[in-house]
């Protein structure tokens, strides 16, 4: 965040790969302009001295929550599969992961 150099098209392409969002050249270009402007505007945080300041993740204390190990009702298999885009019997069907 030191300098506000614009993002490059290569950087935007890399983010689109990481986030698994396919983009056309025009979309990449627009995203580059808009994201660069947003990153420019957040560079204002460089003014703030945060030496020895602890980060806040949540505004309340968050602890891992475990319930007692007792049997409870849960969704049925049929309910769980209700929204699957493609299914075969009691399975969700997807494309081959390994070619």
């Amino acid at each position: 965040m030191e300098e506000s150099a614009d993002l490059t098209i290569e950087e935007i392409k890399q983010i689109s790969v990481l986030t698994r969002i396919a983009m056309t050249d025009n979309e990449l270009d627009l995203m580059r302009t808009q994201m660069s402007a947003i990153l420019d505007s957040v560079a204002i945080l460089n003014e703030v001295d945060t030496e020895n300041v602890e980060p806040t993740g949540h505004s309340v204390d968050v602890k891992s929550v475990m319930r007692d190990d007792e049997k409870q009702d849960s969704l049925t298999q049929e309910e769980t599969l209700l929204n699957a885009p493609q299914r075969e019997g009691s399975f969700i069907r997807i494309r081959a992961v390994l070619e």
Binding site: E11, V53, E99
Partner: protein, 488 residues
């Protein structure tokens, strides 16, 4: 009150009329369904109208009232923002990604409302995945402001705010990540309240930014806001951030005077860019608070100007993680037209998400990526600490803060949609409460050129009773909450 006019009443008034058997829930529900039928072509506040469910809910509510076992919200017709799951009907998030998603479970707030036999009229429109300030980012429809249908209702809870303003429901539940309840409430002239983070369970609220999201009520009055929070607040083991605290009686402290009540006015909320009519309305409101006996003093929150930047790092970062689940495999939109698994995944996300959602996912992924994490995400979390501490300090001196909810009144549809940074500035006065996890409420405080202005109060964490006290006294001393848009 004529029976043809039941849609204008508040939840508190409806409770009294229902309990006295002066009206039935079926009558109240039918009137609302008829109004929805008449107005929706102009307002588009609903994604789904659940007429059959509503009439059945109302019938059951009337039975319960006849048996004398009713709860606070029994028989009251309401709407839920369409990112709150309700079993068996679509929860779309106003996204193509979830257009056909039917949750097989209820959000905890839905369970609570069902437990009281309140009446579901339908689901309210929103900016896709609650990302936006105008509801123009909805992939399904654009909601119009009932005060001027060429203008936006605000967002992201634009459907809920417009529905309450147009009396298409008695109340609605929205979600507020950076102002998504309070800002549309301000622009539509209704009461919108964001509780302390953790007070209302987020289980079943489709996640946007988990450390900021909070469910709250949009209502026609402050008393209703307190009434509804009473029913939805409380600990939930299914939300790991849910607070296990005593819930006070939120209506116990409502009174018309504010003698000895300490109100701070933070000077950083009256800055360049604020509409002069909005500024005047809020300053006039502060004079009303003084007349009610409040001790008003100027305070300073110097880190306020960093809140927007903190938000636009933290919220997209959390969104990029939360929205990685949409892969077209288990549920939701799935692009069939692809040769390989990876191409299918990339096309699903490319065609299922709209531009603002993609922008935030990519921004968040960038801020979290190796080499940038410390400079962006960690830096933002540290400034978040400073903002939080600043509020803690000021609430040792004052009971609540008073400030504008939004820098402007409702703007025209299409005005800001092509400029993300301009759009983000709408939330400049609401975001700090989410960053700090504290509650805030917006109440109607005037009209500028026929458009509503909101007065915002914030309090320390879990001090909702103070918020309601200030908001109620102001509301009762003014006539603004009685103003309604002229419709059909």
């Amino acid at each position: 009150m004529g029976l043809s006019d039941l849609t204008s009443i508040t939840a508190s008034e409806a409770r009294r009329l229902l309990d006295n058997k002066e009206i039935s829930s079926v009558e109240l529900t039918r009137d609302h369904l008829e109004r929805i039928n008449n107005l929706e072509k102009d307002i588009d506040a609903y994604v789904t109208v659940t007429e059959a469910i509503a009439l059945e809910d109302a019938r059951l509510a009337d039975e319960r009232i006849a048996a004398g076992t009713q709860a606070n919200l029994t028989g009251i017709p309401m709407q839920l923002k369409d990112n709150i799951c309700y079993s068996g009907i679509p929860t779309t998030c106003s996204s193509k990604m979830l257009e056909n998603f039917i949750p097989p479970f209820d959000a905890s707030v839905s369970t609570l409302l069902k437990g009281e036999n309140s009446v579901l009229l339908g689901k309210g429109n929103l900016d896709e995945f609650a990302m936006g300030s105008s509801t123009e980012n909805s992939a399904l429809k654009s909601t119009k402001n009932p005060w001027d249908t060429s203008r936006v209702p605000g967002g992201s809870s634009g459907g809920p705010a417009a529905a309450v303003a147009a009396s298409e429901c008695v109340f609605s539940l929205g979600s507020d990540t950076g102002g998504s309840i309070r800002q549309p409430a301000s622009l539509c002239g209704v009461v919108g309240m964001k509780p302390t983070y953790g007070l209302v369970s987020r289980f079943g609220l489709v996640a946007f930014a988990s450390s900021l999201d909070q469910i709250g009520p949009l209502t026609k009055s402050v008393e209703d806001s307190a009434l509804i929070l009473q029913s939805i607040a409380g600990h939930d083991p299914r939300d790991s951030t849910s607070l296990n605290v005593e819930i006070p009686d939120y209506r116990a402290n409502l009174s018309t005077g504010l003698k000895g009540f300490r109100i701070g006015v933070p000077k950083e909320y009256f800055v360049e860019g604020i509409n002069s009519g909005v500024e005047k309305s809020v300053l006039d409101a502060i004079d009303v608070l003084k007349d009610l006996g409040a001790e008003v003093k100027e305070v300073s929150l110097p880190h306020t100007k960093y809140a927007l930047a903190v938000y636009y790092i933290i919220a997209p970062s959390e969104a990029s993680a939360n929205l990685s689940r949409y892969d077209g495999v288990k549920y939701g939109f799935s692009e069939k037209d692809a040769d390989t698994m990876w191409a299918g995944l990339e096309n699903t996300r490319s065609n299922g998400f709209g531009p603002e959602v993609k922008r935030r996912i990519m921004l968040g992924a960038y801020a979290l990526s190796a080499g940038y994490y410390d400079a962006f995400y960690l830096k933002a979390q540290k400034v978040r600490t400073l903002i939080r501490q600043e509020f803690e300090t000021v609430f040792k001196e004052v009971d609540v803060l008073a400030m504008p909810t939004s820098p402007t009144t409702a703007f025209s549809i299409g005005d800001k949609i092509d400029d993300p940074l301009q759009m983000y500035l709408n939330d400049i006065f609401t975001i700090p409460a989410n960053i700090a996890g504290i509650p805030g409420i917006s109440v109607p405080a005037g009209l500028v050129e026929g458009l509503p202005v909101g007065l915002q109060f914030m309090s320390g964490a879990l001090q909702e009773a103070n918020l309601f006290k200030a908001a109620y006294a102001y509301e009762q001393a003014t006539e603004w909450h009685k103003q309604t848009p002229s419709l059909g």
